[in-house]
Amino acid sequence: MASTEIIGWFADIGLHDRPHVGGKGGSLGELQRAGIAVPAGFVVKTGAFERFVRALEQDAPVRARIESLDPDDLGAVTACCKEIRARVEGAQLPDDVLQETSAAHTALCEKHSAAPVAVRSSATTEDAIDASFAGLQDTYLWVTDLAQTLHKVRSCWASLYSVESVTYRRRKALPEDGVAMAVVIQRMVNARTAGVMFTRSPVTGDRSVITIEGAWGLGSAVVGGEVTPDRWVLGKITGEISVREISEKLIQHVPAAGGGTESIPVAPELLEAPCMSDAELQALRDIGRSVERHYGRAQDIEWAVDRDTQQILLLQSRPETVWSAKDADPVARAASDPLSHVMSIFGGRR
């Protein structure tokens, strides 16, 4: 199925499409094009959102109303946001958006119409703070039918009209015309193990190690801090595993019978068993190196191992920001007399 102004398949998009597919969507497309396995999916682009808002505006103004708000009048902002969110969540999708999204969903799920998908907001803004208000956390897992999927798309859009997000935009006096939201729809991975990977040490900023944390089941348990994950530190270049901390992993997140996820206890024999084999850790390290090389900078990555195929898939990758911002003075500089470096050892207390 071809990509359009409304739908963008991962294979057809990359980071430069960010204005239309958002950061998350662009990153997943970029990964797939770089040869990294990600769960199949597509993006409901900002073109769809634009069409939707245009239709909404025909009934009653949306953007003009937001722009008229005083950010200090919390009561008015709250009331207005509540109303607009209700309209977004309740409105019909324009025909072309409905058709194309439904067709893409069917193509994605192939024969299994009830194949579970994840619906995730993908903000277009470059502004990290705004992005975090505008529903970066809006991820709906294990959505099992088309109607639900379409509903969650509108929920993602609605998150643009949260009180925090609107207040922030008003304070900055940003034009509402530029505000848009893309939505990622991708196949769920029924993860045997999932977690995060840092291609630069979160503890020391060391660029030569890869830190991997993981636990049984879906990654939400690790990301949400509900389980103490196993932790490994690997030499990025050598693959040497210098740290192995195997934790008691009491719970895991699994798909719930009626859609969504649930937390269940881990089987006794798996409680203190490592959730990744050494071979899998090395494979993950290779993936981390490829992604880092592709982007030219350290990455924070979410990953999962498919329970059925045992394949490692990346769910997300974003640039590391904490240590990159700290990089300052070089550890040492070239000396006019190369021998003078030895004074760091022989010269006494420094």
């Binding site: 060391d206 030569s208 030499g235 270049i237 192995r244 070089p330 030895v342 022989f346 207390r349």
Partner: protein, 606 residues
Amino acid sequence: MKAPEKSTGFPLPSSLQVVPGTERAQAAYPYHTQFSKGDDQRFWFYNSMHFPEPMSAFDMVTAEAAYCALGAANTRVHCLPTTLGIDHRIINGRVYIGGNAVTDPAEIARRTEEFQKRAFYYYANWERLYAQWKEKMKALIQSAQALPKPQLPEFEPLANVHAGKGVAANHFLLDTYQKTLEGYFRMWHHHFEFLLLGYGAYLTFFGFCKKAFPEITDQTIARMVAGIEAEIFRPDDELRRLARRAVELGVDAKFREGVPAEEIIKTLEQAGKPGREWLEELQASRDPWFNINVGDGFYHYHRAWNDDLSMPFAGLPEYMRRVRAGESLERPVQKLQAERRQLIQDYRELLGSDDERAAYDQMITLAHRVFPYVEGHKFYCEHWYTNLFFNKIREFGGLLSANGFFPDAEDVFHLTHYELKTAIIDLMSAWSNGSAPRGPDYWPRIVAERKAAIREWARHETPPALGPVPEVIDDPAIVMLWGITRESLDAWLSASGDADGKEVRGFAASSGVVEGPARIVKSVEEIARLQKGDILVCQVTNPTWAPIFQKIVGAVSDIGGSMSHAAIVAREYGLPAVVGTGNATSRIKDGQRIRVDGGRGVVTIL
């Protein structure tokens, strides 16, 4: 009762008791090595790295000779800015050492100026000076080899008389003995001629890597610097060659596990031309490459391959099996070199800026320049020369025991080198005046007493350190050679309560995790006990043990750092290894199942 506070310090030297009943053996050590009152003010640590077992009276010569030379190099030759030499004391057969730091800033500045005139000259002219060093060492080895076997004929040979030699045979006992001793003291000066400078250049690069890559493992840095064609690999290379030759010559069936080396050699002598040809090949390998001893060269009983072929021969059957299976036993030198280049390049790319990369290049260039010496000197000094030295003393032991001084030639090592001179002069006098030597009435009791003392001392633990803990260890020699830092002292102070724990910690030497039965191997005689799949647990590992690394699945040692040759060999064999545990051979029991985590430096008793 209130628990004693941690980190207040170690026991004072004056509180350390000579084990009752061993007082006379203790008194044999020179007066200047006995602890005295003033020593309570200073910090001392037990040199378990070089002297892990109680030292016999003669073997103490190594402490004397080595510290004389180390101190001269640091204090007077290269003038290290912040440190002078090392003092040593002996109690219960254990060697304690203490540094002499320079703390006055004006004095440090003065010494820094001297240091740069001296040390920098060495760095700048390293290859030439090292080539010259090898020639000096070879000449020294030759003169030691040329020393005659000590013997006393009944009459002076007629030829000597007719030649007008004018000096009789007994004088040459003293002459040979003094030359032997002189050569050993001189050898240690050669040993330290480059050593601190070499380690310093290596540690400069090491320190840079630790700052640039805070989580890099020691062994990765070691792999970037370690040589691939160092002399220390040659003995094992020779064994592989001999295994290949045996298969080519069709005599490999004569090598069977458990058959003593002497018997195999006898069989080969009778196996016609191919057998003799292999024995010639063996001879070519033995000189000089089997002049490697099974320890670190600091104990007379660490015998060389040449003196005890059981170690090298133990590895041959397995090598031959691999040759027959079509394996090439050649070390893939080019592949290893390419891997090392790649490793250096990959880490270089990770650096944060071109500034850092330029500094990295300068430091690793110097580290590579010095490292052939750091790796190579041991073969010449601690192995080749030391073997010659102890064997020459052994010859004196043979002569003295033949004259009734003590029952066994090996007993000579229970005399100090001062006493040995006395005993030799006793024998010289007796030979000259025709009367019986006095030694046979004098030495047997003393030898028996000292043997008993060593057994007794070995049964007693000794504190890892003595005296007040210094605020900071700023002595590059102590940090470099012994790896002692303020952090490691704190670890010692807090470790005392953990003796019953299931974990034994050491240096991460070669990564990987393995489980298996522990085989405690304390001497070369015990290597035959190693079965395929065992984990070797020993006091010192050493490149001479390389042939048995093909049998084992992991290695643990009491002594050694991540740059020790054992660690290098383990990495080449891809075996998990933890070295420098301090006490693995006493805490782990033979046959116990253990887990070795070579990446973390932890051994767990299961």
